[in-house]
């Protein structure tokens, strides 16, 4: 059985940029133990001599011309979805 500590869950939450309640930390611990315990069965599989797959249809670098095209949108259309903006820029909260 895979064991995961509460501290590990808290660290993962921090890396994932998610704030968790104490209750969520506890329930996720059990769930992650189950899920990771299940996927752990792969560790017994002999994969010696096999390449790692990253692309299934065999495509390699796909190049295109670096051209500007008109999509019928401008920066102000795009900014409409931003929670806050000013003078054509996205406005963010204090960084430091």
């Amino acid at each position: 059985m895979k064991k995961i500590t509460l501290d590990e869950i808290k660290k993962l939450a921090k890396l994932s940029r998610i704030e968790l309640s104490d209750q969520e930390v506890e329930s996720l611990r059990g769930e992650l133990e189950n899920i990771l315990g299940y996927v752990d069965q792969l560790s017994d599989v002999d994969t010696s001599g096999l390449e790692t797959t990253s692309q299934v249809t065999g495509l390699t670098n796909q190049m295109r011309a670096d051209e500007i095209k008109d999509y019928g949108t401008n920066r102000y259309d795009l900014l409409k979805n931003a929670p806050d903006s000013q003078d054509g820029y996205i406005k963010v909260k204090k960084v430091l």
Binding site: L42, V45, T47, T53, R64, K94
Partner: protein, 481 residues
Amino acid sequence: MSVKDFNKIYWKSIAELASDVQAGKISAVDLVNKSLNAIENAKEYGAILFVAKDDALRRAKKIDALVAKGEKVGKLAGVPFILKDNFLTRDVETTAASNILKGFIPPYQSTAVTKLEAEGAIMVAKANLDSFAHGSSTENSDFGVTKNPHDKERVPGGSSGGPAAAVALGLAPFSLGTDTGGSIRLPASYTGTVGLKPTYGLVSRFGVVAMASSTDVIGPITETVEDSALILDVMSGRDEHDSTTIERSPDSYTDLKLGLKGLKVGVIKQHMGEGLDPLVKKSINKTVDRLRVSGAIVKEISIPSLDLSLACYYIIQPAEVSSNLGRYDGVRFGYSEQKAKTVDDVYDLSRSYGFNSENKRRIMVGTYVLSSGYYDAYYKKAQTVRTLLINQFNEAFKEVDVLVGPTAPSVAFKIGENVKDPLKMYLSDIMTVGVNLVGVPAISVPVDEVKGLPVGFQIIAPQKADRLVLALGTKIEALRQ
């Protein structure tokens, strides 16, 4: 709905509808109104999130005006369709059924939708899904569960549960879904509709909310296989906005001629054993027998590592999910927590509120398997086991032309039955995920019913043999009669 109409047909074929519109036998406005009325009368099923009534009627009138002037209006003229709400639609709210995207109005739209519209198809509504397509039942939607049209106490499957239920209810002749680990085929199986998962890269995913990019595909959900072929034919092909797209076949995907005599059909051994509902097994065997009687050469095929595909998938998929969901930061678009004082709080609190527990679970698992110290043991290992699966599928396709079996181990389960045990929920995808990991095409065709609930038959072919899964699909439909 009665239990007997698992293959009830509500609409003429899509090709016929479009040709009737072109000929002026029926107006596009009538077709759209038929769809809008059906949607209005099926609210209790919770399949639809948003109805695009005004836009749809405006487009329909435009098509009717062109027909009146004697102009040519396209292969899908006036045909209404419903979109899973993870397809971006320009100026129409797109939520992926998630609180974090509620209110998001895309400034651009998916290539698939643009191609369908260019042929005259009309989007009438956006349908429910498990939030960000994370689920197998539609119970993970942030905006309510969709009910199975055959039994309201049961799930329609997921994550394309809304689009599948919509077609099963006759709300439109077709819908579009996405399939990352079975999200088109599973709901098609549970609702008695046809669900096509094309070869990886055959249909552009530009403008579709990304889940796991190395397995995500989009495809149609329809009443018949013939309709599915036509929609694939319109949507497929390279797109400069999606660098993973591949060349389409130069011939039409609607050319479905196929002789069953001598066709080599492999029944997947691993999908017919333990864990399969005995009544579903009986239905599948009955269909296989019909193929044999019609001249197909049927044999059992073993894919020894197939049982590992779910474990493999539940490393790769959450890894890619955690990466793809990194863009939801509460800064550029989507939900932003107003109480936050610093930019760090904006990230943490917005994501904490905007993502539901299944989203969080997958992000956390993905972050774990990608984190330093675990990357080789989990992510790299899974991508290598994936090679093993690809090799074994290639071996199988040296012996047979197609692989067949059930789409799911059982018929639709009850709402609430699996929500407390995420791993049990994941197991509903056990017969569909392998296909996504190796990138081959597959289809689920309804063949029978068990206790009044539909059973889907899955057909799998080698990469780019999409026409073969469709052609055999039409044969299966004919043999069902």
